[in-house]
Symmetry: D4
Subunit: 248 residues, 8 copies
């Protein structure tokens, strides 16, 4: 039952052709959402320039292209994460403006470049191997309408590299920090800045890194109070939360 149907029912009540009792009964079991009122607004986060996002992993190329086509009919921008070169090629054949980012395997259609974020989002990674995850965060934050300042390879084992970038870091309104191995960078960045830090552990490492578990635990135990954490390799999540914060 949508708003039109509700209106019709109320008209019938007003006109007397439907008794109050009957109207109550008919309304009792309707799925509330379809009434139009008590509208579930969980899509609100995606309005106003937020792109439609497709999690590409495990989706067949042609399937993904179809979804992308359909989404782009009602949205200017599109982000597909964890795709493949093959999928990207198919999308670009249909949407020549689509960009492919081979390191993070993201595909982006970025027609509407309106800036929604109030400041700059810093995207930082500890080592060059963490760049794919950082790139996913960057691509996400950009397509969600943010200025992004990317700084690579400033891990704590060469702390001067971090110190050299302190000014840039303090200019950001929120920072996404991607790190694998010992995952110490978010704590160090968190201690240098006063803004929220979104820590993204990466699965970079070997042996006792246990596919990112070491970095994850490290970040959850950060002695810097301004650090919060998303899942291992979840660059998209880091960029997404940072974008929400930067709009506030």
């Amino acid at each position: 039952m949508d708003e039109g149907q509700l209106r019709e029912l109320l008209e019938q009540v007003r006109g007397g052709s439907v008794a109050v009792d009957e109207a109550v009964e008919r309304m009792r079991h309707l799925p509330f959402e379809d009434l139009g009122f008590a509208k579930v607004d969980h899509h609100r986060a995606l309005r106003h320039g937020m792109p439609e996002v497709i999690f590409g992993k495990g989706k067949a190329p042609e399937h993904l292209v179809e979804i992308a086509t359909r989404l782009l009919q009602r949205s200017s921008n599109l982000l597909a994460t964890r795709t493949t070169a093959e999928t990207a090629e198919l999308i670009r054949q249909r949407f020549p403006e689509a960009e492919y980012f081979p390191m993070s395997a993201a595909v982006r259609v970025w027609r509407d470049k309106t800036i929604h974020g109030k400041g700059t989002i810093g995207v930082v990674c500890a080592g060059t191997s963490d760049i794919p995850v950082a790139e996913e965060a960057q691509v996400t934050a950009e397509v969600m309408g943010n200025q992004v300042d990317v700084i690579h390879d400033i891990g704590v084992a060469g702390i001067h590299r971090l110190m050299n970038n302190r000014e840039r870091l303090t200019r950001a309104r929120v920072i996404v920090v991607c790190a694998g191995m010992e995952g110490a960078l978010p704590s160090a960045v968190g201690g240098l800045v006063g803004c929220p830090v979104i820590a993204v552990p990466t699965s970079i490492g070997y042996g006792a890194s246990f596919q990112g578990l070491a970095a994850l635990l490290s970040m959850l135990n950060s002695c810097a109070s301004n650090v919060c954490v998303v899942n291992i390799d979840n660059g998209f999540g880091g960029g997404y939360v940072a974008s929400l914060i930067n709009r506030l």
Copy 2:
């Protein structure tokens, strides 16, 4: 060496009483922070109404009282987390305005109640057993200058309780969600609102909850993109990050 001392050195260089070589030498080995420039500003997060915070666990009562006394000489507000009733009593003897929160074992001196946050911070918990952690988040957010809207006991196993509070939730600018056992509430809240959600797993549960591990993993794997996570039982961290976000 602070800026005054640097200035003096440069004046001496200008006046010729210190040779360039000697000035270079004296500058070479100074701790950079004491130079006054390249100032380390990690304390910035604590300025402008942010309280001084003491992690009380493991500190002797008299020791903690001394720290509190010293901190309150240069700060209007104070927060001490994970204290004891004994410690709280000692603090209240010296600072009668101190509040003690027995569930979370927090002590707060809240003289300066200026509001710094731009909106309301929601603090939500899944079950009544999670209240101590939620209280720590609430106490933290309040003393950092925020309006806080607290909603208890809206876990997903009674989803109508959550739905009934949707309006209040959507009015918050950022939400801290505390949950133990299966830790599902942040995902459900995250799906209802468009703002950032800080998930705080609690150690509530038994058996395969493994002292909060189940809730932690659940939250890290949230299918809601606007969720980020802090350590198990870290209500303070949740309230702190939310406060930073609410100031933006």
Copy 3:
């Protein structure tokens, strides 16, 4: 807005004192539950003889007594799990018919002994140390209106004990099997019977039992297809699910 209020609104629509547009608007933002229709029925499981249940762990004795008193005003039966002898004594002072089960620390008020279950629920444990968990399952199933057949100490290391009880087991409509250490009993029982088996791992054991993890994993990997599992030491959950099944 309850059903009365909705009726009143519809009457006003019918009477013309409220326009259709205005009625739509007023209905749009009401919490759906308070409408009286679209009623959330999660309490349904507790109706018709299902007792009110209190998880006693961590609740102060006087607090628990108050809850119990309030619940017993609208319910004949009561179950409180994981209480203490002290709490039990307080409850019995107020409700002399209350039973206390020291092994499982359950308190039960069982005034209405109507049988709701269609058959017998088997409650089985592997060793004598598992009896407290089995007792919690038994007490739960009984107060929910079931005939319960309890068999203790038939672990797989003495498989003749299991075989000797095969007839009793096959007469049950659903069986709750509690076992610690290697947790093998649910698989063996599951292979003997054709009914659903609810496996409850217990934390009984030491060393590599890891507080019930060994038994839990064992049960999750059961080669018997009719076995499903609840949390470690969750005798209540086992009895509860079995009771739901036995009513079908």
Copy 4:
């Protein structure tokens, strides 16, 4: 020794050709099962329309076809789980009525469609990636003689989707809920309905999902009392237990 042989022995005792002592001796060491009495009835679960089931993983195609052929000589229906497209093709060459379900890799021969279940089994999944596991549950429940109502993609991060399906859910007699990532859906469904819920964690996710461990722990710690759990990705087990329950 089957019943015939036992009878013969007893006749000989009666006729005097075998002494009592000798009869006792001969019966002492016989495998009890072959006596015909003390009959092991673990196959009972498979009688009365329960299909023969083959766990296909790791079996060579030709081997699996042979087993299927043999089983179909004494059974109308057949279910083979975790097969391959190649195996399915071989089976269909021999049994043209065989269905192949590519997502779950199940093969089914469903000649006898008698309904044995007393009500409807709900099969629900949280996200589209969980469909293969849900399909295995569905295929199992159907071939075991049940009406199945399948609802996809109603995860908790879009809770209105769940609420919209409440009526359908409450009509089920037992529900199988498949979810990966944070595994929160069984708790939410369990809170909405009063029937038993069989939770099936899936290995869908990445990073800290640890191949389904996060979902598994989440489900074991469900705050909804009517939830029990089977192994990760065990759609068959979920459908099987639900079928047993639905026959009661």
Copy 5:
């Protein structure tokens, strides 16, 4: 139904007072064990000098004394593991010959000292902190009728201590090796001798020993082929298996 009853039934069959059909029917549902034939012999391991064993942990002192008293009515020897000093005192009041071993908290009544083992059982521990576990193994092996040769404190970090005892080790028929921390001793002993080695990990250690997990994993991965393992701190199990082997 015991053998006498079976005999009676067969006599009735022979005499014609019970028809064959009826005899078959009555035998069909008897618990097989009570028939006297098809005797379950799992107690065989305890016959011929094997003591009755009580796992004392969690048993009330007076309860344990009762069990002990009852067992000693049909057995010369008794072993109770993981008791307390209080329990031991109670047992000694009733059975003055009872020995108490305070390190391992074992109580032993050892009246029948017949030697059943064919050779010597070596019981070895790595450090002095492992002695309680080794003592439990020793006490078990002795009361089961074995010569035991105990060697303490020959851990691999002082390998000469091990080498000095090589002759004694090679004289044993089977060796129980108890070690905590890195758990390396069973591998080293296993390399020196040709007999079976029963490795008992102990929970001695701290930090990354994880209550014996490190030692357990170490022993399971032993590069010596003659090593098998029992549970953490399971000195009884080590002594028991060694005793079974030594009787062969």
Copy 6:
């Protein structure tokens, strides 16, 4: 320095051409093993019919063939575990009597079939998927000179299969039990027999079996006292320890 050289030195001492002091000095720093006395006897386990054993995993085919050739120059029998079909083919070209076991990937040269074991070794597995591990145990025990009685597919979910084989099991002098999934079979077998049981967990299973961890933990926590455990999938180890025991 071998025994000959020692003799020569002692002769020189006797003859007076070497002084006692000099002899002491020359003996002081010799590697003790090369002296010929204080002989390291860790190879003893391989004497008297024990075959040479090669762990084939990770070894190049031609490399493995060379090792096999060299070993067979001083040994009648040979066992190579975890090889490949390619390696097996190469070995058979050189040693036509070599057997290849494709399920366990073992290669065996078994020229000397002398029986060294005093009784029969039982080799048992729970399901057909565990056969490769059981086969490795069987092949090992046979080539080490034992009568082996193999029983497949008697897992606890069909406990009558186990009961039917009780007589065969009780005839064994030591039993190797291989099981994956819930790993319950060793406990059940251990309860039926009085001899030592060597439990071999296998990696068979999926999801929460965690590659054999569930079975391993189950076996370590066995409530049957006569069970000890070797590493996951270590059929060789099970057969080896059983062979050592069977020679006693």
Copy 7:
């Protein structure tokens, strides 16, 4: 057999009273160590000023005092770690010069203060809660004859504190770094200096620190190549290894 006995045997050989064959035979089976040659020198590490060390945990006070007394008869210095205040008091009654360190619960007798280390050992900790572990390292390094430079509370969340101490750090010859929570400090220190860094994870933290596991994994995955790790809370081990290095 000590050197004297060997000499006597050789004299007998020389004198002809013992034949060469007999001498060979008698030497064949002697424990090599007691020969006096092939001397096991594992105590060498404790010579030359290394103190005797007692691991106090679990030792009775009077027992520990006895050991201490005996050790101090042949050694000037003594270190007992993980003692209690009670034990310390007993030791000081007998050895008034004994120092007690209440934070780390170490007792030290330090009579011989000879410096054996060639440079300074840095002992660093991240937070004030890590001081007990750092103190154990310091006390160990000092009593082993080293100059120690202790720096507290320079965790990475306030990286300027670390930078301010860079000069002191670079002057050390080897550095022990103690850190709990995220355990990031050893990586940061390791990046600043060129000397070996011994990382000591501490159990400081809560929730997902898992008693030091987070810090341990972090340190094992350090991106600084000069970091190696000892057990959680093993300040003694850190100080010991550093002392060995500093003597080189």
Copy 8:
């Protein structure tokens, strides 16, 4: 700004062409490192013959060759770990003196063979499967200017092999010990020698070795006080730390 530029600025101050205020301002925001003073010296570890090291894993061959080429313009020596045969071939085409080590997949250019280490570094491994990790340690230690003494295959299960090499081991100044499976060798070596031991767990093993976790835990819990640990399979780290120690 390097030292020259600082000098120039100070000259301008002295000459009056730049005001003190302006000089302060210009100095305020300079990255401290580029000043030339307060020099970050984390590269110091690589000076004086330390080779440039490339972690090859995940780098494209042509990319790695470019890095190698660039590094060799300012360094005599080069080490690339975890490369591939293809990469090695490309490097050798450009630098014919490059060595490739197929077991460890390391590539080394070793033009400057100056010895910097003061003694010999022992590199030891337990089994032949550990050789690749030991080789990485060896190649690293050599190119960093050390004499290396390599001993293979002296695991504790054949302890005489270890004892036979005791003299060589005691001659080393620091020892790197690589072991998989139970990881016991570092403890045994540590007990024999008085020098620091760097333990490198390897991922060699199967089942409960959990990819090296068993060996790692074993080494962290070593009862030998002179053992410290690096990450699983981190032969480079072992060789690097040993080289730093050997230079002291």
